[in-house]
Amino acid sequence: MRVSRRAQLSLRTLALAYLTILLLIPLGIIFYRTFEHGVSAVVDSITTPAAVSAFWLTIEIVGIAVVLNTIFGVLLALALVRSKIRGKGIIQAVVDLPFAVSPVVVGVSLILVYGTGGWFGTWFVDHGVQIIFSVPGMVLATIFVTVPFVVREVEPVLREIGTEQEEAAATLGASRWQAFWRITLPSIRWGLGYGVILTIARALGEYGGVSLVSQSKPGESQTLTLLVKSRYDNLDVSGAYAAATLLMLIAVVALIIMTVLDRKKTNA
């Protein structure tokens, strides 16, 4: 297809204009709005006790979600690629399911299982464990929405590298664990890393699900995303902007890491 120079430039301009209007201008505006009243006001805003505890709660929840989904994600990827069981398609479909579920529905589903009146609600209450309206519920919601990433990123890598090296290791006397730790894991590291950073980014940004299963109590059950909403609700718009900018900076860092890992993954 021989595209004339003029057409090529027009297409390029159209695409870039669309992206600028949709992405760059909004981001620019929020940076401007946030720092409109000076940097120190922003720093104050993100170092309030509520903000600091929101930050640490977010880190805690994201950490748990990442660790669990990494372990089970690699396990599932290995099982999906290496096993000879039938019905793997169903498991793959279930892994992809969270992509099709609205965050609100995630919250609804968890309340129906772990909340009062839910399937196991009374059991948990009897044992003194609060799931809904407390951190465990928020962790479960975050885990739910981040299930697919590690599996989907590790699976193709595993498929590509095959089992030759591990078989060789086995003939040389390596145990399954040794083979896994020293051969499998290093060979999937870029795909795994990419899946992990996607998990982190998604977990950081989780809002709909956690907002339904949390009472958003400052210092207790309020993540950074919930902090943004809470400040907006309390008419602290500049505070909301500050928290949002903090989240956005973290997101940009995540995006940079994503880009780097993606390139390493493709070049590996």
Binding site: L19, L23, V105, I161, A244
Partner: protein
């Protein structure tokens, strides 16, 4: 998420084929634990543990929603799903999602094309930028839109609590889907057919219509499907800007949330569960239908 899932490849010489001597089972050699015992097929335990995990985390909660939705029988389910406010919300949700599906089909293909076929300074940056909506929390997107289209909008546009703002929000969050679906296919597309057609005198439009479009067709449909499924469930990015006005600007996710929040102790009523199931079913069927169409399309064009 810059690569679509690769389909399982049956025989590429790398995946362990069925047969003796393949796979890591009872290896020969001095360290062989070669007892003559029957082993489970390779990976069964891992698959079992993984399935258990998936069941507890994903399937169990979703089953609870289905159960609650059907708690009072199909009649109650239908009533809950067709309540006036629910119907209005669903109608709005589907319309805006369909709109952005079409918008994304065009803009996503355009952007993918420019990223693959064009060369310009800063292209890598632009490419990385596409993933931004994946990285940004939805509530942040919402507040960004608020600053742009709210009362002190620098553009003079005041779109808060209107329907167009929902479309704009959805355009933001669904940007990457079509682009990332079509990009790899375009990159790998064999240009010989295009060049051959050009030498035979085909116009660019014809080449696009008859060669390129069929090639990217399945990926395009897949991207549209993902964008649509994402759009119908979208909550965080619209929650600050659309005003949540029933019958006017309330989408289904907000309707469900409202049902929960208006109940005491956040108890889930049938209406919330029923509408959740509706969303799930729509997403499921759209993705299924698009997959079927894509499969038929690629079979049709396969040599």
């Amino acid at each position: 998420m810059s690569r679509p899932r690769s389909e399982p490849v049956p025989a590429d010489g790398l995946t362990p084929a069925a047969g003796p001597g393949t796979g890591v089972s009872d290896p020969p050699g001095p360290s062989s634990r070669g007892r003559a015992r029957r082993r489970l097929p390779e990976g069964t335990i891992g698959l079992g543990i993984g399935s258990l995990w998936l069941s507890i985390i994903v399937l169990l909660p979703l089953a609870a929603v289905a159960a609650k939705a059907l708690d009072g029988g199909l009649g109650d389910f239908w009533d809950a799903a067709t309540a006036p406010a629910a119907r209005s919300a669903l109608g709005l949700t589907l319309v805006v999602s369909a709109i952005i599906a079409i918008v994304n089909a065009v803009t996503g293909t355009l952007i993918a094309w420019v990223l693959v076929r064009d060369v310009f300074p800063g292209k890598r940056f632009v490419n990385a930028l596409i993933d931004l909506p994946f990285a940004i929390p939805t509530i942040v997107a919402s507040i960004v839109l608020l600053s742009l289209y709210g009362s002190d909008s620098p553009l003079g546009l005041h779109l808060i609590a209107t329907r167009p703002i929902i479309v704009i929000a959805l355009m933001f969050v669904t940007l990457p889907f079509v682009v990332r679906s079509v990009q790899p296919v375009l990159m790998e597309a064999d240009r010989e057919a295009e060049q051959a057609a050009a030498t035979l005198g085909a116009s660019n439009l014809t080449i696009f219509r008859r060669i390129i479009l069929p090639t990217i067709g399945p990926a395009l449909l897949s991207g549209i499907g993902l964008a649509f499924a994402r759009a119908i469930g979208e909550y965080g990015s619209v929650v600050l800007v659309d005003g949540n006005i029933p019958f006017k600007t309330q989408v289904t996710s907000q309707y469900i949330a409202q049902r929960i929040e208006s109940n005491q102790d956040g108890v889930v009523d049938t209406a919330a569960a029923a509408n959740s199931i509706v969303l799930l079913l729509i997403a499921f069927f759209v993705l299924l239908a698009l997959r079927l169409i894509a499969n038929r399309g690629s079979r049709h064009h396969a040599r």
